[in-house]
């Protein structure tokens, strides 16, 4: 068990190294340098050259790379090119917003998907299954952004039940006031987003149940006189959950990654929207930091998934 985790952690070292190199090269290729947006027009070329020398921009590339990595370890991600704040504080504000929206979405997703998947798999080809399949065709066929815009238009603009943008209202005060306002802003995007993301989980769970319930080991359990509901919960369901557990890690790190589409449609100030904004505003320092962060999140997500899988499934543990 521990060997599996250790081995998996060791694999991450070269992965992180390659990721950092790629992002570094990318950053070098992007236009702009640390002065972008900070130089005032009266500075003469000599001062700029001097500053460049001082910041080491004339050093060999590998020296710059090691310095850059060193800065990263100290949490120094540079200054935003377009907003006069550090990239770190910009990202951490947005990460908090994204975290709460993603958390609510994830909870809603599983709260919907697991009972739906179980019902569809258990009552394969009966009306429960057919109803859920129709729902799934619908949410699968319709592009996410169309669905979100429709939802925003109907429940936000037309009916006016929910706010149409932002993460918290400026007039909210007091702890509970802020919490309430945040929830109120998140509820519509979270429901809409959850409805779209349930589809794949429902499908995986249903397929898992349908496949597993005809497996020989299920017949063995029945031949031992194990009651049908226990056969289902203890044998069929546990094995059917494996594919979902495989997503678990990326779902957890996705809590910080956020969604570009939903955040943009709802003008929700989270990580996904920050990413798109930094592209459109050419805020390359923020963009670089975000790419690096998303890369690291993906690696950690896969790491977590692998650890979770090895905890659940003895077959993938290394001896």
């Amino acid at each position: 068990m521990w060997k599996t985790i250790l081995r998996r952690l060791l694999i991450m070292i070269p992965q992180l190294l390659i990721l950092s190199l790629l992002v570094f090269v990318l950053a070098k290729m992007m236009p702009g340098d640390p002065f972008t947006g900070q130089i005032n027009p009266n500075m003469d070329a000599k001062t700029i050259a001097h500053l460049k020398q001082e910041l080491g921009l004339n050093d060999p590339v590998w020296v710059q790379y090691t310095r850059w990595v060193g800065d990263l370890f100290h949490g120094n991600l540079g200054q935003s090119y377009t907003q006069h704040v550090s990239v770190l504080s910009l990202i951490s504000d947005r990460a908090v917003n994204t975290f709460w929206l993603s958390l609510l979405t994830t909870i809603l997703t599983y709260a919907l998907a697991i009972p739906m998947g179980i019902s569809a798999g258990r009552h394969q080809d009966e009306w429960q299954d057919q109803t859920i399949q129709i729902f799934n065709y619908f949410t699968f066929a319709i592009p996410g952004f169309v669905f979100y815009i429709l939802g925003l238009w109907l429940f936000g603009f037309t009916l006016g039940w929910f706010p149409i943008s932002g993460s918290v209202s400026a007039s909210a005060h007091g702890f509970w006031g802020v919490v309430g306002s945040r929830l109120y802003h998140m509820i519509l995007p979270a429901i809409l987003y959850a409805l779209i993301t349930t589809t794949s989980i429902v499908q995986y769970l249903r397929t898992g149940i349908v496949d597993n319930k005809v497996e020989d080991y299920v017949r063995t359990a029945r031949s031992k006189g194990v009651p049908e509901n226990v056969v289902f919960n203890k044998h069929i369901l546990r094995n059917s959950m494996l594919p979902i557990a495989a997503f678990m890690g990326t779902t957890i790190t996705g809590l910080l990654g956020g969604s570009m589409i939903i955040e943009t449609v709802f003008s929700y100030p989270g990580m996904g929207k920050l990413f798109l904004d930094s592209i459109s505003q050419r805020d390359y320092s923020t963009l670089t930091a975000l790419i690096l962060l998303f890369g690291i999140l993906t690696l950690i997500g896969n790491l977590l998934s692998d650890i979770i899988m090895s905890l659940i499934d003895p077959r993938i543990r290394v001896k």
Partner: protein
């Protein structure tokens, strides 16, 4: 004289049909069999003859929506056909133990093998956890597993095929069932392991005095272990006798063909007989006349009964149809 209680299972006019495109087709067609205490009854026939169907019907494990079972399967006055599930669950695992063909697929990959055996005890005994553990260790010893304490904690994929099948057997005999059904228990195993597993089954049978139904397509297995033999073809029992009779003077053309196609260990260069054709699929199974006739086309139709019945040709020796009387192999005929 046989005591009444020696009869464990009395199967009468069993029909088991599967629904295919809305219609039911019998995969077991009027099967009559009995199983006695202390007896190993072999059901033998090629793949697709309906052997597993009989096993599934006895233990009540089939898709109830798409399977129709009629007739009687009497276990101590209790008819297992149509028995309700909660009653059946008291019998499965406790009175009837089941051993399947593929031991890897038969075990839950996510559960320790010891716990899988203990699960049987949980539902049929009032042992506490510690007692169940002890009983599993005892069973592992009985089925010849080395280092049972260590084995208890293993997962199925960590064991060899032979050890997995021993786990499955331990599971089936955990509650000392009166009836054990073994459906091709050695087919998925190496030849050397096969013999060990068969020996184990015989030992268990001798110790527990249970009755075993041994399903196989391998006459070698039958010769080695069985007391009684039922030969099955296309959903029907075509010949039934004790093992000596079946091997010394088989009568039905199918039994004789099977025996002729069996390799003899002492004669390596013999030409093995190959039975022409294949077992018909459920939908294409002839429902009238002799079902085996199509595979012995050189025997004129007049030799077969129009509606083949089972005849007791000598005490305890039953044969379907009368075509056996003038049956000969094709090679013999052309050699003249």
């Amino acid at each position: 004289m046989e005591k009444q209680s020696d009869l464990l299972l009395d199967i009468q006019h069993l029909h088991t049909g599967y629904r295919l495109q809305g219609k039911f087709y019998d995969a077991a067609d009027d099967v009559n069999l009995t199983l006695k205490r202390d007896e190993i009854l072999a059901i033998v026939g090629e793949s697709g003859c309906g052997k597993s169907t009989i096993a599934a019907s006895i233990i009540g494990l089939y898709d109830h929506k798409n399977t129709k079972v009629t007739g009687d399967i009497l276990y101590n006055e209790l008819n297992l056909v149509g028995l309700n599930e909660s009653l059946f669950n008291k019998i499965r695992g406790d009175k009837i133990g089941m051993i399947f063909q593929d031991p890897l697929a038969s075990l839950n990959p996510l559960m320790r093998v010891g716990d899988q055996v203990a699960e049987t005890l949980y539902y049929h005994t009032d042992m506490d956890e510690k007692q169940r553990h002890e009983r599993v260790i005892e069973l592992f010893n009985q089925v010849g597993m080395p280092r049972p304490e260590e084995m208890y904690r293993m997962y199925p994929h960590e064991l060899s095929g032979g050890l997995r099948q021993r786990v499955v057997i331990a599971m089936a005999i955990a509650c000392k069932p009166e009836i054990i059904i073994a459906d091709e228990p050695t087919t998925a195993l190496d030849v050397t392991i096969q013999a060990q597993i068969l020996d184990l089954l015989e030992d268990i049978q001798r110790e527990s005095h249970s009755g075993i139904i041994l399903i196989t397509h391998d006459l070698g297995v039958v010769a080695e272990t069985a007391d009684e033999v039922a030969v099955m073809y296309a959903g029907q029992i075509v010949e039934k006798a004790d093992v000596k009779t079946v091997f010394s003077h088989p009568l039905h053309p199918y039994t004789r063909s099977l025996l002729n196609s069996m390799p003899q260990s002492d004669d390596e260069e013999q030409d093995l007989h190959v039975i022409q054709g294949t077992v018909p699929s459920l939908k294409n199974m002839p429902r009238e006349g002799d079902r085996f006739a199509a595979r012995i086309p050189w025997i004129p139709e007049s030799e077969h009964e129009a509606d083949p019945k089972v005849h007791e040709v000598e005490p305890g020796h039953w044969v379907r149809c009368t075509c056996w009387k003038n049956f000969h192999f094709q090679e013999e005929a052309s050699g003249e």
